[in-house]
């Protein structure tokens, strides 16, 4: 296992989608390679930060336009001719 193959396997490693023997080889490499440890750890944090991020509240004007548009169309669906 070299650093390049660690990078190639980061996703599989973080998702634990790999053979146990490959996982063991990666962990052996990580024990001895600080750079790879940091890359794996900061990649894990990248995913977590995005995954945990809360979407911002909708701007009020956007929210009002959404409700108006849905109201108008759903109203039409309800009162329109039967399909």
């Amino acid at each position: 296992m070299n650093c390049k193959s660690i990078v190639r396997e980061i996703s599989n490693y973080l998702e634990e989608a790999m053979e146990p023997s490959l996982k063991t080889s990666i962990e052996k490499h990580l024990e001895n390679c600080e750079d790879c440890r940091v890359v794996v750890d900061t990649t894990r944090q990248t995913i977590q930060i995005f995954c945990n991020s809360e979407p911002a509240p909708l701007p009020e004007d956007t929210r009002v336009r959404l409700r108006d548009a849905l109201f108008k169309h759903l109203n039409k669906l309800r009162t329109g001719p039967r399909a």
Binding site: V7, S11, T42, A56, R67, F71, N75
Partner: protein, 213 residues
């Protein structure tokens, strides 16, 4: 009349009497049976996420608004086709992604082809290797962090940005992402890896230890 209320019309048929508030399945069943209030609850629950998804894909506020409206409308119109094999939210995301891709292709017809080969390249070897320490995001206020994340993801090319959005933000599976985008599973995996490494590199400038601490 309050614009915040989706549809105050009285339904023609009796509605299911009870909707369990925190149960997506019950809300969807009620909406299918004609309960517009239940559908409004679903809209309220997911509008922020769908807007962010649309904004991240289209990178345009007007388009994102259109996408969000169209996605909710389409989901309502086609609710009877929703079989419940996946979460309602996953189904809604797929509708929104289709709408967003159409917008994106209209604006940038020559730049957005998701199914063509993209260079997932050899330049993924990390250049800057610096520790971030625990919980680097806590060094920023919520709004500030939101701005950092949205501007960082905006720097990715669409094929990478969209795969990352679906897999790591919306938490679709690799298979669901592949199906939603018409890509092979290996293509999703290689783009996701590239996207994660690129974002890691870009976030490094904010989160490396010593920055903003």
């Amino acid at each position: 009349m309050s614009a915040s209320k989706l549809n105050p019309l009285q339904p023609r048929t009796p509605l299911p009497s009870q909707v369990v508030k925190d149960d997506e399945g019950s809300l969807v069943a009620a909406a299918k049976a004609g309960d517009i209030d239940a559908f409004e609850t679903l809209v309220g629950r997911y509008e922020r996420k769908i807007f962010r998804l649309a904004q991240n894909i289209t990178q345009n506020k007007e388009d994102a608004e259109d996408v969000m409206q169209e996605a909710f409308l389409k989901s309502y119109q086609h609710l009877s086709e929703f079989q419940g094999n996946s979460r309602f939210y996953t189904w809604l995301v797929r509708i929104a992604v289709n709408q967003a891709l159409m917008k994106l292709r209209k604006r940038r017809p020559n730049q957005v082809s998701l199914d063509e080969e993209v260079d997932t390249g050899e330049d993924t070897m990390p250049r800057e290797v610096e520790d971030w320490g625990p919980s680097p995001e806590e060094r920023y206020k919520q709004a500030e962090l939101g701005t950092i994340l949205s501007s960082t993801i905006a720097e990715l090319e669409p094929p990478f940005r969209i795969v990352f959005q679906l897999r790591d933000i919306e938490e679709l599976s690799t298979e669901e992402t592949a199906e939603a985008l018409g890509l092979s599973i290996p293509a999703v995996k290689s783009r996701l890896l590239r996207a994660r490494l690129k974002l890691r590199q870009k976030l490094n400038r904010y989160f490396k230890q010593g920055e903003n601490s």
